[in-house]
């Protein structure tokens, strides 16, 4: 009897600490394009993301206009010609860690995960599956991932004259430093 109550107490503790939501409002999402002609890099440090450790679900949202480029002209073209950011102001990812059981959110450490979900860019939704790392640290969780996307998959058309300036595959980097959501 005593043992059962101890187990329950422990279980309760585990649930109470792990069934927690984490959030970041200044996550990083960037992409990089390398061609023989030029390198293009854009950074966005205003990604908002929520992560639920209990279910392994996560959502991530970025404003397209918050991507910043080295050259102002690139930024203008990105918003005006490619992303049409007045029409489609944000990009959203809704997904889930496929193997949440393999991560022990109560124990600091690094865990490899696979995240699957729907990525919406330029009003086109695609299922993606990417590999990433979850690092449980004291008072937070860091999540990082690197993956490739093809602009044409999202109906982003790149005209012939600049086709050689922009890589076929863009390398996307995501780095999120979550902290626990205060419970109301």
């Amino acid at each position: 009897m005593k043992r059962l109550s101890v187990i329950l107490l422990l279980l309760n503790l585990v649930v109470a600490t792990s069934a927690q939501k984490y959030m970041t409002k200044n996550g990083y999402v960037g992409f990089f394009s390398h061609t023989a002609i030029e390198d293009i890099k854009a950074d966005n440090n205003q990604a908002v993301s929520v992560f639920d450790t209990a279910s392994g679900e996560m959502v991530l949202q970025v404003l397209i206009k918050s991507f910043h480029f080295e050259k102002a002209l690139m930024e203008e073209h990105f918003n005006e010609n490619y992303m049409e950011s007045d029409k489609f102001p944000k990009s959203v990812f809704k997904g889930k860690i496929t193997n949440p059981a393999s991560v022990d959110f109560s124990k600091p450490g690094k865990y490899d995960v696979t995240v699957e979900g729907d990525l919406n860019i330029h009003d086109v939704t695609k299922k993606i599956s990417v590999r990433g790392t979850i690092e449980v640290i004291k008072g937070g969780i860091n999540a990082t991932s690197k993956f490739n996307i093809v602009p044409e998959d999202y109906k982003i058309t790149i005209p012939g004259v600049v086709r050689d300036n922009i890589a076929k595959n863009l390398e996307v980097t995501v780095s999120l430093k979550y902290s626990p959501v205060e419970n109301k």
Binding site: M1, L4, S5, L8, L9, L11, N12, V15, A16, A19, Q20, K21, M23, K25, V48, S49, V50, F51, D52, A54, S55, E57, M58, V59, Q61, L63, K65, S66, E70, K71, A72, L73, E76, H77, N79, E80, N81, E84, D86, K87, P89, K94, P159, V161, V162, N165, V181, N183
Partner: protein, 293 residues
């Protein structure tokens, strides 16, 4: 057993609290509304001849080469004006995100010009709503042609003229932008006594995007000063043409009845008339370099 029940109960609660609310709601609650600025109201810092509300972003240098050829009605012997050309070379630079400056040299009256353009308001929606973008433009032009009359005392100040404009624009839709440009021109010296030193003009310009990279532009300045008080017949400048954007270049190709490429020239000194066929083919080429990241 009595101890276990509350524990079980608390376990139940701790699970249910978190599982219910949608992650997306939480995310949206924590996303603060952004100010959404209208970008690329015009493709270039010029509508055609005159300035648009657009400025160079900080650290970017715009190297501009502009040509106006001769009059189309000059006939086949002059290759419809293409045998002659008037040039302006310009270096224009963004200093802050509200200030750009520029220097230029026109072959027209061998004129040097310098200008500053200030961004006052930016059209925006979202967290802050602003219906229009407003810029102020001020320029000074110095002609350097040899004095026509060397027998009298010529002052350097006689070479100067000033232009001030309020540029008010709105990107009405994704493809259509309109600009109104009240203009004041002061010439220190004019040709004859009856010519006014101060000119007032009201400009209007617009662009209509045909594709993502090509737009149709037009621009007109209405000179308010009565024409009978001018020693030569001047016309209101009207220009129409296209903007073509490639990677780092903007090409503006158009037809206009004015030869000068600076405000002081095309507003007060346009002697060509569209109706008589005094039309010049012209182009502006803009190439942007990033000097400071």
């Amino acid at each position: 057993m009595r101890r276990i029940i509350p524990l079980l109960f608390s376990l139940l609660i701790s699970v249910s609290i978190f599982a219910q609310d949608d992650l997306m709601d939480l995310l949206n609650e924590n996303t603060k509304p952004e100010i959404n600025y209208a970008t690329a109201t015009f493709k270039s810092t010029r509508v055609m001849n005159g300035h648009s509300i657009e400025r160079m972003p900080p650290g970017q240098l715009d190297v501009r080469i502009s040509h106006r050829f001769g009059r189309v009605n000059s006939g086949a012997y002059e290759f419809f004006g293409l045998d002659q050309s008037s040039i302006r070379l310009g270096l224009e630079y963004g200093i802050f995100n509200w200030l750009m400056v520029g220097l230029g040299r026109s072959s027209y009256e061998k004129t040097f010009d310098g200008f500053a353009k200030f961004t006052i308001l930016r059209q925006s929606s979202g967290a802050r709503v602003m219906p229009v973008s407003v810029s102020l433009f001020s320029s000074i032009a110095i002609t350097s042609v040899k004095w026509s009359d060397t027998s009298r005392t010529n002052y350097f100040s006689s070479r100067l003229s000033y232009v001030h404009q309020i540029l008010i624009a709105r990107k009405i839709s994704q493809s259509f932008s309109l600009q109104l440009t009240p203009t004041f021109v002061h010439r220190n010296m004019v040709a004859t006594e009856i010519d006014p030193n101060d000119l007032f003009a009201f400009g209007a310009g617009g662009r209509m995007k045909l594709t993502k990279r090509i737009s149709l532009n037009a621009e007109y300045f209405y000179l308010v000063n009565p024409r009978q008080y001018m020693s030569q017949q001047v016309y209101n400048p009207l220009s129409a043409g296209v903007d073509i954007e490639t990677g780092g270049h903007v090409f503006q190709l158009f037809f206009t009845n004015s030869l000068a490429m600076i405000e002081k020239g095309f507003i007060g000194e346009t002697t060509g008339s569209w109706l008589k066929g005094d039309i010049h083919f012209g182009f502006n080429i803009s190439r942007v370099f990033t000097l400071k990241k």
